[in-house]
């Protein structure tokens, strides 16, 4: 663990101990029954319909006398990452990673310095970079996320995530997780649920830090994935190389498809925050018995950000929360979590 990572955890440890949180993500692989019984669950949540919905769902599915009781081995809960577990605005963290990797890629292939979009990225001019096309960003993703061994990629991503800081809070990205959602993850686990991250981001990227940051082991991260190719390095040692071929686009319909591919069970609870999570939440809610689908609404401009058409605000194209999504949530019995009203605090460092 890097010094910066340790600091992040130490800070959270102190705050977590003060708040009597049910589990400290990343330090323990499981929560003991004693912790589950003595802790105050969801301490950073205000009382209200969102908190109550979680408490009711857990009671309904874990009380052996409940008609909605779910056997422990079937308890699966899935969580989107960007905008649901940590900050996604104004730009997805993994996109920052890709941009930050460009100089290293150009160092290996100097000719790229004179080729777009790499030339623009190297200027460091955020205004110009923001105007690059989707096609340009795809070229950047291919150059920075494919072609290397899976081990080299993991080492590069780990070094970055252990040191890179965001521009607003000047903190490690891994500190920008939502404390109430960390408590939700812990509360689900304390009640026998396997918690999965189901992300539109790259699963190889998220798996690098998921265990330390969320207490979610790499094998419980489902995300967008390129294919890999088995081969041997120059010493004859087996290796897997990240290919250019997209195997799973784990967004929108790709989320339930990815869940079926990598989990094979329909989740009983699912959390998201944007139209990219719609199908996952529909899929979870359509199962038998008690089901919980929840959407995080970014409506706290002061403590975090407020964005999305459902609030009459501009569509930032990052974590779009449309009126249609809001309407579907209300119609289908999903719960909308107001960051402003439902969360007592947003970050552990507050």
């Amino acid at each position: 663990m890097s010094p910066s990572g340790s600091n992040g955890l130490s800070r959270r440890f102190v705050l977590g101990a003060l708040a009597g949180l049910p589990a400290l993500p990343g330090l323990f692989s499981a929560t003991s029954p004693a912790e589950a019984q003595t802790a105050t669950p969801l301490a950073s949540w205000n009382d209200g319909p969102a908190k109550q919905a979680i408490l009711d769902f857990i009671r309904a599915t874990t009380d052996a006398s409940s008609k909605s009781f779910v056997p422990p081995e079937e308890r699966i809960a899935t969580f989107d990452q960007d905008g649901t577990l940590w900050v996604e605005h104004p730009i997805y963290t993994q996109v920052v990673y890709c941009l930050d990797r460009v100089p290293a890629v150009v160092k290996e292939k100097p000719a790229l310095a004179h080729v777009e979009p790499f030339k623009t990225v190297l200027t460091g001019d955020f205004e110009k970079i923001g105007k690059l096309s989707l096609h340009d960003f795809e070229a950047i993703a291919v150059a920075t996320l494919t072609g290397m061994s899976v081990d080299d990629f993991a080492a590069e991503a780990k070094a970055w995530i252990d040191s890179a800081k965001d521009h607003r809070w000047k903190r490690l990205y891994t500190e920008l997780t939502y404390q109430p959602m960390q408590e939700a993850l812990s509360f689900f686990r304390a009640n026998g649920y396997k918690t999965y991250i189901v992300t539109g981001g790259g699963q190889d990227f998220v798996r690098v830090y998921s265990e330390r940051v969320y207490g979610v082991p790499p094998e419980q991260v489902v995300g967008s994935a390129v294919g890999t190719k088995y081969g041997y390095d120059k010493n004859g040692k087996p290796m897997l190389t990240k290919e250019r071929k997209l195997l799973l686009n784990d967004d929108n319909a790709g989320k339930p498809e990815g869940i079926h591919l990598e989990i094979g069970r329909r989740p009983h609870a699912a959390f998201g925050n944007s139209t990219g999570d719609r199908q996952m939440l529909e899929y979870a809610k359509a199962g038998d018995g008690a089901r919980l689908s929840m959407l995080v609404l970014h409506d706290d401009a002061k403590r975090e950000y407020a964005y999305g058409p459902a609030q009459g605000l501009p569509d930032t194209k990052v974590g779009t929360f449309t009126q249609a999504l809001y309407d579907e949530a209300k119609k289908d019995g999903w719960f909308v979590i107001s960051m402003k009203d439902d969360w007592k605090r947003i970050f552990a460092f507050e």
Copy 2:
């Protein structure tokens, strides 16, 4: 659980209790520390290098004072299914399933009755069926494994596996698991390992019975997989349909690739029995620290089957164990398990 399934488990329960086995696959999702301490591990294994290799590996990776100690969350062991955990000879169980499904498929699409290869399959003449081409079998697989919802497929496969019996022992296929390997699965789990099945067979098929039969939950089954497509049934209920597109061919190089896709960690131990497992065993063995790669050799013509070029026997094209594989095993420090010499008994019903 079906009556036949219960019978199978009851029989195993009695035998298991008599033998003091560490865990009863399928009835408990985890083994308690007490069980792990009091049980005699690997009771159906004869003393010898294979059994010793497992005992040594577990000690080296779970003893906190060992230099090869592996933290609990990193303990992953992968097991091929056909020929490693249960009988694969003379024909893979899932192929029997596909053939058995043909009449139901033809009932839905009567025109197929007059089209090859379905016409031949409907004759029930095993000699003729055995002469069908690989292309014919692919057509049968497409007709019986794709086009339906994932829920319909699971229901069909479950009904079949709960009642279909093999031709030699006249027993449910799920009774034809190898008792020593069941004990190996339990022993690994009792020592904190997550056990995964990594099969060339269809993961949707194996997931139907993996928990009950092996104590391996569906989310810990990696196998060949077609893509699914998210959509809605006529009542607007979300559904996933099995598509004709092969997403993961989980055999040969596809095994480490599938492991990376669905697990994201390199296994510390891997078990197989054929050239289709070669890359998985290489991949496991190439990691740092203590690693265990083992191959089951089918050399017991009396109690099970003997086949494969490494023994100077014909290549049956099912679970091929070549001389080259044997040589690689010896060279790279893998262990070969002789069913004849290393296993005291092969099936729980013996």
